[in-house]
Amino acid sequence: MGWMMWTPEVAAFFGCIALMLVVMTVLEIRWPTIERKGWLPIATTRGDRLFIGLLLAAYVNLAWVGLSAEEASVWPGFGASMLLLGLVMWKG
């Protein structure tokens, strides 16, 4: 696995993604999702909302990194993206 050049940060990132998938699977088995229509333009299931939320979060982070000043911290962008993810999951 040496060639994959793992870093702790990226490992943590993929760990979180894997954890999310596990949680979503368990939730799906215990309480199957029902498709619903929120403020997003399409009717979505829980899994759809997670995907849309993560995709939007990625774009928010990219926008922050691309537009912020040279030495700015990445965390405000990350915080904003997580808020958006929560909003999509909850109300989308």
């Binding site: 870093t7 990194v65 990445v74």
Partner: protein
């Protein structure tokens, strides 16, 4: 009749999943790892955080390549979709003529992509190529290796030559699925040719045309080999599209970190477009019952 729920069906997915995941998930994770490190050698690499992303997002060359790419993909769709439909309407419906036309029209699809580049490289040269020679004889100052405009047009014409057959075949398949009774009814009603197209053929082709638009958008967005062989991205950067810019960085300059960051941004762009198009098409598909 809806499909029954059966979790055991997941077992049937497993072999496919293993095969694709092996070549898709591990490499994707690797790209993420590369994108946050400065890789000096296989054993020497340092964590640099989001530096490469910042660099790539603010890279004017990349922004130019992205604009070129979008303009190119748009041109491709605007030319190939109507031309492909026109061609499908003109193709014979049955008999040996239909087979022969089908084989000839589909031919460019079966040619290795670098040979497509080679075909046009040979054809377009003004000294030894038929196309270039004829244009020059007509008094047009044509040289695709030196003039930006000519390079652009040649790449575009080459893509039309290469990929219009795909649109034509899809549209043709859609047309053949229309029962003769529809045409007979239109004949009795005295419908004009245009009315037949607008109210019978176009709605019936909607499903396959959606697939055509999606495939042509995706594939033109990742075009690499043909312009690489034909123009090498030149003159200057005139025909350097996203994939070529990425390959230059990754293989040419061996800047693994920035190339990986670029890959991820590229991937996110494609993912967003695909998700929107996919959902849009599914909704349309449900609309007319065409699965």
């Amino acid at each position: 009749m809806s499909k029954p729920v059966n979790q055991k069906a997941l077992l049937l997915i497993v072999p496919m999943f293993v095969c694709v995941a092996f070549s898709a998930i591990m490499p994707l994770m690797t790209v993420v790892n590369y994108s946050v490190q400065d890789i000096i050698s296989p054993t020497q690499h340092v964590f640099v955080g989001t530096e490469w992303f910042r660099m790539i997002l603010n890279d004017p060359d990349l922004q130019d390549a992205l604009v070129r790419q979008l303009v190119f993909s748009l041109c491709v769709l605007l030319i190939e979709i109507p031309l492909g439909v026109a061609l499908a309407l003109a193709m014979p419906a049955a008999g040996w003529r239909a087979s022969a036309t089908l084989v000839v029209v589909a031919m460019p699809l079966l040619i290795p992509w670098n040979v497509v580049g080679t075909v046009w490289q040979i054809f377009g040269r003004s000294d030894i190529g038929l196309g270039g020679y004829v244009l020059t004889q007509l008094g047009i100052d044509y040289n695709y290796t030196a003039h930006t405009r000519d390079a652009w047009l040649t790449v575009l014409v080459m893509d039309v030559w290469h990929w219009t057959p795909l649109v034509a075949l899809l549209a043709y398949a859609g047309l053949r699925a229309i029962p003769d009774a529809f045409y007979q009814a239109a004949e009795i009603d005295g419908a004009s040719r245009f009315a037949v197209f607008r109210y019978i053929e176009l709605p019936k082709m909607r499903g396959v045309l959606m697939i055509a638009v999606l495939l042509r958008f995706m594939d033109s967005f990742m075009i690499y080999t043909e312009p690489f062989v034909l123009t090498g991205g030149g003159p200057g950067n005139a025909t350097t599209f996203l994939s070529q810019y990425l390959t230059q960085k990754a293989v040419g300059q061996f800047d693994l970190g920035p190339a990986a960051a670029f890959s991820l941004i590229y991937f996110l762009i494609i993912l967003l477009f695909c998700f929107i198009l996919y959902n849009w098409m599914q909704r349309l598909g449900q609309g007319d019952g065409h699965a």
